[in-house]
Amino acid sequence: MEGVLSILTNPYYNQVLTMMGIFLIAALGLHLITGVTGQFSFGHAAFLSIGAYSSALMTIYLHTPFFLNMLVGGLLAALFGILLGIPSMRLTGDYLGITTLGFGEIVRIVFINTKITGGAMGLGGIPKETNIAIVYILVVLTVFSLYRIQNSRFGRALAAIREDEIAAETMGINVYWYKIKAFAVGTFFAGVSGALFAHMMQYLNPSDFGFSRSFDILNFVVLGGLGSIPGTILGTAVLSLAPEFLRFVKEYRMLIYGALMILMMIFRPYGLLGNVDLVRVFRSLRSRGAGKGTVSGDS
């Protein structure tokens, strides 16, 4: 307990864990799009930036409360998600990937060339509103709502789309609209995450939301295990903490980080928790513990 307290009061651990929580919300949003629905998005950072800039500008110029700004940031990101979704959700696979990639670049260039966002000089003077408690309350809310979504009729429809679009269509699922809805929910969480990021860093620069950031978030989802919420959480935790904990090896840090990713992909191509249903694992462990020897037969 004392250890936990000292982690929370140490500003460095606090900072690292808060950043992890912020990216976790974004990753969970992408999890719904890529993991559950099976649609590739290489432009997730663009939605982060929309949430970040819109909420920051509201805080600076309109002085509206932070939670409202965060909500508006999320909704605005979702709106752009829908607008992007309408033309691009007719595409699949590589084509969709390229479209989202292009969108990500467009958003970044727009922010670089807009006066009100400070252009390439960045936007400063954002008050600090984000703290570890707010972030983790929102993480819990996000996990809960995604869990509910995934296990609803809507969520199962999305999973059906991922598995086989044609079969899903024949079962009466409007594939196109379901994809857009998934995209809207996923980008909403990206916007919220962006708002938290803006009020944590207190300074925004369009270069923070480049392709590499989108790719980082995609890595969290894919390495953790596509379609698994615990996987996404684990993936985000491992990949965002690894560069920090590897700091002691100095220049070799990113080398080891890269090697870690390659090893994970070789030994766990479906991600750390891909194809692992934690609920079932715990149940089988419990039944084993209770029944002593009554091993479930599917090993």
């Binding site: 460095y12 900072q15 903490l241 590897l246 700091r247 002691f248 030994f267």
Partner: protein, 390 residues
């Protein structure tokens, strides 16, 4: 199923091992903090897009720390550098800044870029740790708070001095002004040059705007060819600068250009070749092998001895000066407590560094002298003149 559980357990074990290793490493830090060294943080990228700036800054800092420690340290204690490499990534920069603060650094030197300096400043100011950037030139940096400083040559100081030289020594009376629109560096430099040109009686006979990543400037140059002028003031970056000069030579215009350190890069003459010969670039530091004296010469010699005879650049020199200024402020204040010695740092006046003299004005902005005006000669930057600023 069982195999999967084993695999999962293995991966989980690895993750825990990683966590444990990390925690173990950082737990050692407080022990060292109680020792008898004064810790100064280095914030910069040793990898990533801005790695060159970071590595050079660190080299300069290390030389300064070695020099100070050889002379007995500060307040009877030795200086120690705590490295914070952020891989040129701003969210990592926030983490690493926070980490250095928990490791009890009294001051941080960095970051070489304006953007990350602003990010770090937001953390250093409330934590009451001095941040002295050895590279940030953009606006809105020291305004963040009274713990934030920089030791760079500001365009607002340099551009008027250079304009004075162009007008009085080189007798430029008419110039063409070329701005890269959409590039904040170029637009703000143009805004500084305009009043300076007016002040020294230089007329702007033509103004042209180009875009970053443009490669064809024939329209702009054709328009310029109908005017007569003594030179071009170019406020953009080296790539466009080189190509612009090439187009001018192609159309038979023989004027040279002058601009800020955005033009400073070997790409200027690699790309521009003969067309940029004679073009002038100013910067806060350059190696003037013939005329360097005193500590500047010592610094250059020492750097060359350590680095296979390669010349130190502006970042190394500013990194060196940053540590020296911090040490002097601590000595003056007789304290290594940032809340105390920041007052002494703010009062820095006529500090003699290897890049020249540095004074902090009432707004804690650095006023530096001199400006190094360099000229491209035989595909190399050569110091043309050293201009003292007013």
């Amino acid at each position: 199923m069982r195999k999967r559980i084993y695999l999962f357990a293995l991966v989980a074990l690895l993750a825990v091992a990683l966590l444990a290793a990390g925690c173990g490493g950082s737990k050692d830090a407080p022990k060292a903090a109680g020792g008898d060294t004064i810790k100064i943080g280095f914030l910069g990228g040793k990898t990533g897009a801005h790695a060159h700036y970071g590595i050079e800054t660190l080299k300069g800092m290390q030389m300064a720390v070695d020099d100070i420690n050889k002379a007995g340290g500060v307040l009877g204690k030795k200086l120690e550098i705590v490295e914070g490499d952020h891989g040129s990534n701003s969210s990592e920069a926030a983490n690493v800044t926070q980490k250095m603060i928990t490791q009890k650094v009294v001051a941080i030197v960095g970051d070489p870029t304006t953007g990350i300096t602003k990010t770090a400043a937001q953390i250093c100011q409330p934590a009451k740790v001095v941040l002295l950037s050895a590279g940030a030139v953009g606006t809105g940096v020291v305004e963040i708070g009274d713990y934030i400083y920089r030791d760079t040559l500001l365009d607002a100081v340099a551009a008027p001095a250079v304009t004075k030289y162009l007008s009085e020594e080189l007798k430029w009376k008419k110039v063409a002004l070329v701005t890269t629109t959409g590039l904040s560096y170029s637009e703000s430099l143009t805004a500084i040059f305009k009043p300076a040109l007016a002040k020294y009686g230089v007329e702007i006979v033509a103004e042209q705007s180009i875009m970053e990543k443009d490669t064809n400037f024939s329209a702009q140059v054709t328009s310029l060819s109908q005017k007569s002028f003594d030179g071009v003031i170019f406020t953009g970056y080296y790539t466009e600068g080189a190509l612009f000069m090439k187009e001018m030579r192609k159309q038979g215009l023989n004027q040279v250009m002058a601009g800020g350190d955005g033009l400073l890069g070997q790409e200027l003459y690699q790309l521009g070749e003969k067309a940029v010969e004679g073009s002038m670039v100013y910067a806060g530091f350059a190696v003037d092998s013939k005329n360097a004296v005193g500590i500047t010469k010592e610094f250059i010699d020492k750097y060359q001895a350590k680095n296979n005879n390669s010349k130190p650049d502006m970042f190394a020199a500013q990194g060196y000066d940053a540590v020296m200024m911090l040490a002097e402020a601590m000595k003056k204040a007789n304290s290594a407590d940032p809340t105390v010695f920041k007052e002494a740092l703010a009062k820095t006046k006529d500090f003699k560094g290897v890049t020249g003299t540095i004074t902090f004005d009432a707004n804690r902005e650095p006023i530096k002298s001199p400006v190094y005006l360099q000229e491209v000669k035989n595909s190399e930057f050569v110091v043309k003149t050293v201009i003292p600023t007013a």
